[in-house]
């Protein structure tokens, strides 16, 4: 009694198998090879106009006519002077091992160190600070270690600095070269002759380099300030030179000091002719946008109040922002319960206050960006179906209506933002609905500290 008999189902499973066979057949028509069906569906289920990946590239196998084996074979290298027999794995193609030198032998380069004879030493190379043995040892080590002077200095029997060793080696080689050359003109082109090693210069250079590398952040800031100030001084000098000579501002003692400070970090200004504007003139120079140049100009003053310094820094930080933004920053400060001018302006408090102001500026900028992005996004989404000029206008109106329900978090200048959007979308638009956003748009409530 087969169950199938009772149910009346067909006995043979043929139709099902046929179904199964036909389905893969259909599937292979619908989806391309190489990627699964689900992945393909993610791209929208439509074939891209240009295939991005060549599907045939995806599973390349080596050409099947060659027979590859790997064998453990001995090899020789031209770089080795001994007869040491070494072995390694070799890719053998059709029973033929690869030919040629060991592939890394070409990297075995060495330096041609000039070796002198004893007579040559006696004639040209005697030096009060160096004995013959030392010089010989030096040249041996140079040859052995390919002029790696750090290692040579390390292994040198008597303590010598790297610069001394370099000096001895290069001057000795140079002397030999010049002595051996039939005429001076022939070796004039040789790098050893053309550019001799300058010991004092090298020592000085390395010292300066290590000083620069070991500068603390403090020093770096100071240097930046001084350089900014130097630039300002140079520019003001240009301006002063263009202007009338007798009309110079009140000079002060700052001249020699700024020169002193500037020469230290590196000779950027000529010390003698520097004229620096007196403290009274400093605030009246053009808007100092750079933070470090504000700091520099403060240091030019003999004395100042902490509150004055804070004002200058705040001004410099908000120099890129408009009046409206500055008002918004102040409003935010008040909402957060912070005085616009700190009650106890110590150095730390002023620094924190300044940082807070900068962060609020960043916050406001981000809010603006977010507004614009959202507006762009929504207009794109709505405006892409059925693109005729008439429908485009309609979709943009829809955008405005969307904007009336701006979320409260973006309250600062929210309504102003919408107005700006309006203007962007074309002159015809504005005339159509002159007052709709202003009218329909509810004034968003001011952000409170509790909102944050």
């Amino acid at each position: 009694m087969d169950a199938k008999d009772i149910l009346g189902l067909p006995k043979t499973p043929l139709p099902i198998a046929q179904e199964k066979k036909s389905r893969p057949h259909k599937d292979s028509q619908r989806k391309p090879d190489g990627i699964s069906r689900e992945v393909y569906a993610l791209t929208g289920g439509v074939a891209p106009l240009m295939p991005s990946i060549d599907v045939s590239q995806l599973k390349r196998r080596p050409p099947s006519d060659e027979k590859i084996t790997w064998q453990w074979l001995p090899f020789t290298s031209s770089a080795r002077k001994d007869n040491l027999q070494l072995y390694h794995w070799v890719r053998v193609v059709n029973g033929v091992p690869p030919t040629g030198d060991y592939s890394f032998a070409k990297y075995n380069k060495s330096v041609d160190v000039i070796r002198y004879t004893d007579e040559e030493y006696a004639k040209y190379l005697t030096d009060p600070k160096w004995t013959k043995e030392e010089t010989d040892q030096l040249f041996d080590l140079c040859e052995r270690f390919d002029l790696r002077f750090i290692i040579i200095a390390d292994r040198f029997p008597t303590p010598r600095t790297v610069e001394e060793l370099k000096d001895r080696y290069y001057s000795a080689s140079r002397a030999i070269l010049v002595a051996r050359a039939p005429s001076p003109g022939e070796v004039a082109g040789h790098p050893l002759v053309k550019e001799p090693y300058n010991v004092t210069h090298e020592i000085e250079r390395k010292r300066a380099l290590s000083m620069v590398l070991s500068q603390t952040k403090h020093q770096e800031r100071k240097d930046a300030e001084v350089l900014a100030e130097a630039k300002r001084i140079a520019e003001s000098r240009m301006a002063a030179r263009a202007a009338e000579e007798p009309d110079l501002p009140v000079p002060s003692d700052i001249g020699p000091e700024s020169a002193e400070r500037a020469v230290g970090p590196g000779d950027t200004i000529s010390p003698s002719n520097v004229q620096v504007h007196a403290a009274a003139a400093a605030p009246s120079t053009s808007v100092i946008a750079d933070n470090s140049s504000t700091l520099a100009s403060l240091r030019m003053l003999k004395v100042y109040l902490r509150t004055y310094a804070l004002e200058q820094m705040v001004q410099a930080a908000s120099s890129s922002a408009g009046l409206r933004t500055i008002k918004r920053v102040e409003q935010t400060l008040q909402d957060l319960g912070i005085n616009l001018k700190p009650k106890v302006p110590t150095k730390a408090v002023c620094a924190e206050h300044l940082e807070l102001r900068k962060e609020i500026l960043t916050l406001l900028n981000l809010q603006k960006q977010l507004q614009y992005k959202e507006a762009e996004g929504s207009s794109f989404r709505d405006g892409s179906y059925g693109d005729m000029p008439g429908t485009a206008k309609r979709s943009q109106r829809a955008v405005d209506q969307d904007r009336t329900f701006v979320p409260d978090t973006i309250s600062f200048g929210g309504d102003r933002g919408v107005k700006r959007e309006q203007k962007r979308k074309g002159p015809g638009r504005a005339s159509e609905t002159p007052s709709s956003p202003a009218g329909a748009h509810k004034r968003p409530r001011k952000m409170k500290a509790s909102d944050l």
Partner: protein
């Protein structure tokens, strides 16, 4: 009294006109003096925290039309230390209706008491010792006689106190000044960078001769306000935290919008018809 102009030197070796030569002569005689002031201590800024303001008492029964209040204007160290080591004298500029409106106070404590009826802005000019700074520093303070809440009659016991905290910063002190005050309680010396060689400390002399210049036992000192930066720092730190959290939230929102797939972008070619 303005500082002698001889310290200023025109440095561009231009035409040597007569006045210039006189200036140069002047400088050579004072050279010995100035040696200390010309050498500056690099990269150290000295900071003098001060408090300045007014305390005004209503005279009550003794008040008359023209003299209803007795008030005192002063500049003191923020911790009531003697400012005489730094400040040479202070000039208080009063309302022109006062006799001799320019009052000079030559020694600490730098204060001035007067009687009057009106509120006005007082100009306070600080003049420093010659090795400290040759420029004066100006402050302004509005004299307040009447309390905020005008409820009921004024008390003669409780004065109206208005004080402001500020710090005088010398970004580039001379070695002489630094040596003199590096251990002075009125001066804030910052932590010195490593490898810094201090000039030898000179003994703290009483620059102004007479008596003590600090205000620790000043008769009005119980009205002095306390200025603590800890409070402000706490408030600022919490405000910064709030703003930073908000910034992070916005950045996240922005990145979501940027990363949002534009499903019709491939079809955009249709749009440009």
């Amino acid at each position: 009294m303005p500082h002698p102009a001889s310290e200023a030197q025109v440095e561009d070796g231009g035409s040597a006109s007569k006045p210039q030569r006189i200036i140069k002569l002047g400088k050579t005689t004072e050279d010995g003096d100035k040696k200390g002031t010309n050498k500056r201590v690099k990269d150290i800024e000295l900071c003098i925290p001060i408090v300045y303001g007014t305390i005004a008492f209503y005279l009550g029964r003794k008040a008359s039309e023209s003299q209803s209040h007795k008030w005192t204007v002063y500049v003191r160290g923020a911790t009531n230390e003697d400012l005489g080591a730094v400040i040479k004298h202070v000039v208080f500029q009063l309302h022109p209706s006062f006799n001799n409106p320019t009052r000079v106070v030559e020694s600490p404590p730098f204060e001035l008491s007067e009687c009057g009826w009106g509120e006005f802005e007082i100009g306070i000019s600080l003049f420093f010792h010659s090795d400290v700074c040759d420029k004066k520093l100006d402050l302004f303070h509005f004299l307040k006689l009447y309390p905020e809440d005008e409820s009921g009659p004024q008390s003669t016991k409780k004065p109206v106190v208005m004080e402001s905290y500020n710090e005088i910063v010398f970004p580039d002190p001379s070695e002489c000044f630094f040596a003199r005050v590096q251990n002075h309680p009125a001066v804030l010396v910052p932590r010195l960078p490593s490898g810094f060689t201090l000039p030898a400390p000179a003994p703290v002399e009483n620059m102004n001769g007479k008596g003590r210049g600090d205000t620790k036992d000043h008769p009005l000192n119980h009205w002095f306000m306390n200025f603590s930066e800890a409070d402000e720092l706490l408030k600022l730190a919490s405000a910064r935290q709030q703003v930073q959290a908000h910034i992070v939230k916005l950045r996240r929102e922005l990145s979501v919008i940027d990363g949002m797939p534009q499903p019709l972008k491939p079809a955009s070619s249709y749009e440009c018809t």
